[in-house]
Subunit: 226 residues, 2 copies
């Protein structure tokens, strides 16, 4: 019984990877670098995106916004005059807790790929399933806010291991919460040695320059690798 | 294709509900009231549990601790001298993002039901799927921390609608984050009119007395209803 379940899950992930590769091919053909932005609900993904998108130098960005329901985040970003496409996962039943490659594929016709260099996909807030489903991205980025606690890399290792960049957000609250940054970084290093880390605050703007530079440089880094 | 998917999901939820009812019958027979504690990663579920379990008057409590991986939370609670049973969902593949009725059923033999009056099940940190899977509980409780933002009831309405009590946690940070309590409560009232709300801080202890009273009173409230 259990073995059957594992096989069904593996088949589903295989099918997802096949569609993800098709998405990736389409993104490559269009010359668009793609980042998959993940993190817990309320980690600050949208707030950081607002900062990043407001000044990316000459890089033309677009956003694919994944939510269970509603268009709150898409509405927040729309005022920045970048193309935002909304994907809702809450269709009929309680809602999917992550984006998968097929959902992203279904949204492709609505994304102006020929007008952008960089697509940022904001995933559903969740530290488990988004890490299991590739969507055709070049890079995976996660936002961990310090209010979530220093133990999170140990509790959700797959998520912290799946990404190329870990953004440690809300560092303006460092004096107000029980969070030991050294211990967090030690845990992070245990599950993903050498991963890039940026410390940010969407409230004070700390670290936002480096974050913008990371995203602005992604198309060039991806283009050099293709 | 889509209709088939919806039917498969509905069948899975039906099967889950059947097992959840069997769990509930076993809990009722043992005279144990059961609360399903849900919330985002880092909302403060375990910290609040530490406070609640340290003084429940004469009520004998046990905990079923759901995690993707590791025993960090169970270890924290074990020092309180209540029986703690660990359930890990990360078996073989990336891990389930929620507990379901069958997982809880598999743990029943390890829970000393005859020695407790109250079982608190700490679910996996996630605002989507835990709301869809009943596990045989009498009451569902969710923890929303103010650092997650005031928009969360609108973004995860099923979760806020599924529970009998919403704990608004980390209120010690009210002066340090952009969070408008009135707006949060307005959004909450829009998705779940009349739901019980408790404001707490696991750091200052504010609201903990009321929270203890809520949990300590659950066996009596459930018993009166049986």
């Amino acid at each position: 019984m259990h073995r059957v379940k594992v096989r069904v899950v593996e088949d589903a992930l295989d099918a997802n990877n096949t569609i993800a590769r098709a998405n990736r091919d389409d993104f490559d053909r269009a010359g668009v670098a793609v980042a998959n932005l993940m993190g817990a609900p309320g980690a600050g993904k949208t707030a950081l995106l607002e900062y990043v998108l407001s000044d990316l130098g000459g890089v033309r960005a677009g956003v694919l916004e994944g939510d269970v329901q509603g268009t709150l985040d898409a509405d927040r970003l729309a005022s920045l005059h970048v193309p935002v496409t909304q994907l809702q996962t809450g269709d009929g039943f309680g809602g999917e807790c992550h984006l998968d490659a097929n959902m992203v594929r279904s949204a492709l016709p609505s994304i102006p790929l020929s007008d952008i260099d960089l697509l940022i996909i904001e995933n559903v807030g969740n530290l488990v399933c988004p890490a299991e489903f590739r969507v055709g991205e070049d890079a995976r980025v996660m936002v961990a806010s310090i209010t979530e606690g220093e133990d999170k890399p140990l509790k959700y290792p797959l998520m912290f291991r799946a990404c190329e960049l870990v953004i440690v957000n809300k560092i303006d609250l460092l004096g107000h919460v029980d969070f030991d940054m050294d211990r967090f970084l030690h845990h992070l290093d245990a599950v993903h040695p050498g991963v890039s880390v940026l410390l940010t605050s969407a409230r004070t703007g700390e670290g936002i320059g480096e974050l913008r530079a990371w995203f602005a440089g992604l198309p060039q880094r991806v283009g050099a690798a293709v």
